[in-house]
């Protein structure tokens, strides 16, 4: 279940589609811990989530998504 944005930490995240570069820290969805997978799926649906995902990471899913501070 998705949590309201910032419920736990007061911080928020959003996803932005990007083209990855050589400097990016890229992880596949399968390499995320369960809480981060859950947060990613919530964010992708446009719903709020816990701030478990580290900002700056690029996540490979059906596209590449950079995790950014909202």
């Amino acid at each position: 279940m998705c949590m309201a944005v910032g419920d736990t930490t007061g911080t928020t995240r959003e996803l932005r589609r990007v083209r990855p570069t050589a400097a990016d820290d890229v992880r596949d969805f399968d390499q995320l811990p369960p809480a981060q997978q859950r947060e990613f799926l919530c964010l992708r649906r446009g719903e709020g989530a816990e701030a478990a995902l580290p900002a700056g990471t690029v996540i490979r899913f059906t596209d590449y998504y950079r995790v950014e501070r909202a």
């Binding site: 050589a22 969805f29 399968d30 390499q31 997978q37 690029v58 059906t62 590449y64």
Partner: protein
């Protein structure tokens, strides 16, 4: 006197074991031997390099410095030729001998070739197998230049080849035995969503097909693939993904129990030979959830197995049990796909297609969930994996696993 640990293989299982041993035994001697020419990389992401979507740099995980900093002796381009379990020695192709107190075999596998099935020209130039970063580089280079291609192998690895062809604008046919992709885990209803995804990226599935023989030109380059019905498909490029041959030859003269399925280990990653352990793709391990032997090739499972093996090696006893519910996603298409647990090990299945792009199939055995497949909506994976992990008895409630929002609290009443 410090203990000596030798690890064969520098994939995620071997590398995570080395890291764990260093943490648990700061004074130990640790050597990692690998036949590859580069240190640990992100095996999940190499397909993205082949597709032309990701540069090389983010795929590397460890530079050689990483091993130096941890006082781990990393030996690249090193082929293990045999192991003497009585003398506790590992021998390499260069005649080097590594003595060990504990040995971990995490050597993974090598893609199977259709040549072993007698298929003509199965190792011709232009026919690729996909396992290492080097493979990915070759595949990328060839796919960028090729106009026509064929993919053989209707499973989780074959679809990476198909996606590569799609991303590299190769006009490709995906030859499958039977009437659908991954027929051991999916019904036709679910597989059709994947077939649609393939077509959307420009790859045409061909059913009841396969590679009967490959045709080559005068220079030995692939020219075409002919299927069992005699249909001929022009192809400059071919990707073959029909499984793995596990790298166990160097154990042939030892009592370590091996087979075509890999190395037999218990739930502690220990073989039946004292001081010899195994981890990663190469293991056929005792799955404490299934209550029987199982295999798994996912990244998370291999990493966990490496850590569990390392802890038990250092403790010199069965200190840590491997108990894990794996998952593996395919995200080549707009619609995500995820398999979890053991989706092909069910005795019965419940499934539902919710829409053009959403599908769920859950495999059950003895009234408990053992695995499944999600397409489109991956959110239920956490609850379904919890059902597996906690071995929840479902009684007559299995169909309720198909509800949009699974209510675990109302499922599985106490027995």
């Amino acid at each position: 006197m410090s203990q000596s640990y030798v690890i064969i293989g520098d994939g995620i299982a071997g590398s995570s074991a080395a890291e764990t041993i260093r943490e648990e035994a700061p004074d130990a001697d640790v050597a990692v031997l690998t036949d590859e020419g580069e240190a640990l990389y992100n095996r999940i992401l190499i397909k993205e390099h082949a597709k032309g979507k990701l540069p090389e740099a983010p795929i590397s995980i460890h530079e050689e410095d990483w091993y130096d900093e941890r006082d781990v002796d990393l030996e690249l381009n090193t082929f293990v030729t045999d192991v003497d379990v009585d003398a506790h020695e590992v021998h390499t192709h260069e005649g080097d001998v590594y003595g060990y107190d504990k040995l971990l075999v995490a050597a993974g596998g090598t893609p199977s070739s259709l040549a072993s099935f007698g298929v003509e020209n199965a190792d011709a130039e232009g026919i690729h197998h996909f396992w290492t970063f080097q493979d990915a580089r070759r595949i990328r280079e060839h796919a960028e230049a090729a106009e026509t291609g064929v993919v053989v192998g209707a499973g989780l690895l074959g679809i990476d080849f198909a996606a590569t062809c799609g991303a590299q604008d190769v006009d490709a046919k995906y030859l499958m035995r039977g009437n659908r992709w991954w027929r051991y885990a999916l019904s036709l209803e679910g597989a059709e969503i994947i077939h649609d995804g393939l077509r959307e990226v420009g790859v045409e599935p061909v059913f009841d097909s396969g590679a009967e023989r490959f045709e080559v030109d005068d220079d030995g380059h692939l020219e075409a693939v002919v299927d069992p019905s005699g249909e001929r498909f022009e192809a400059e490029f071919a990707g073959v993904a029909i499984g793995l041959d596990f790298n166990v030859e160097f154990l042939d003269d030892t009592p370590v129990e091996t087979s075509n399925d890999g190395i037999e280990v218990d739930e502690y990653m220990q073989t039946d030979v004292e001081d010899v352990y195994a981890a990663g793709d190469i293991t056929r391990f005792y799955d404490t959830i299934l209550g029987e032997k199982a295999q798994n090739g996912s990244w998370g499972s291999a990493k966990e197995q490496g850590q569990v093996a390392a802890k038990n090696m250092v403790a010199d006893e069965a200190a840590e049990t491997f108990r894990w519910v794996s998952s593996y996603s395919i995200t080549h298409f707009d619609v995500p796909f995820l398999s979890f647990g053991h989706p092909t090990e069910g005795e019965e299945y419940v499934e539902k297609r919710y829409s053009e792009t959403e599908y769920r199939r859950v495999a059950l055995k003895d009234g408990k969930v053992v695995g499944g497949v999600l397409i489109g909506n991956l959110a239920p994976q956490q609850k379904l994996k919890r059902c597996i992990r906690e071995e929840l008895p479902l009684g007559d409630d299995a169909e309720r696993l198909l509800e949009e929002d699974i209510d675990l609290d109302s499922l599985a009443p106490a027995q």
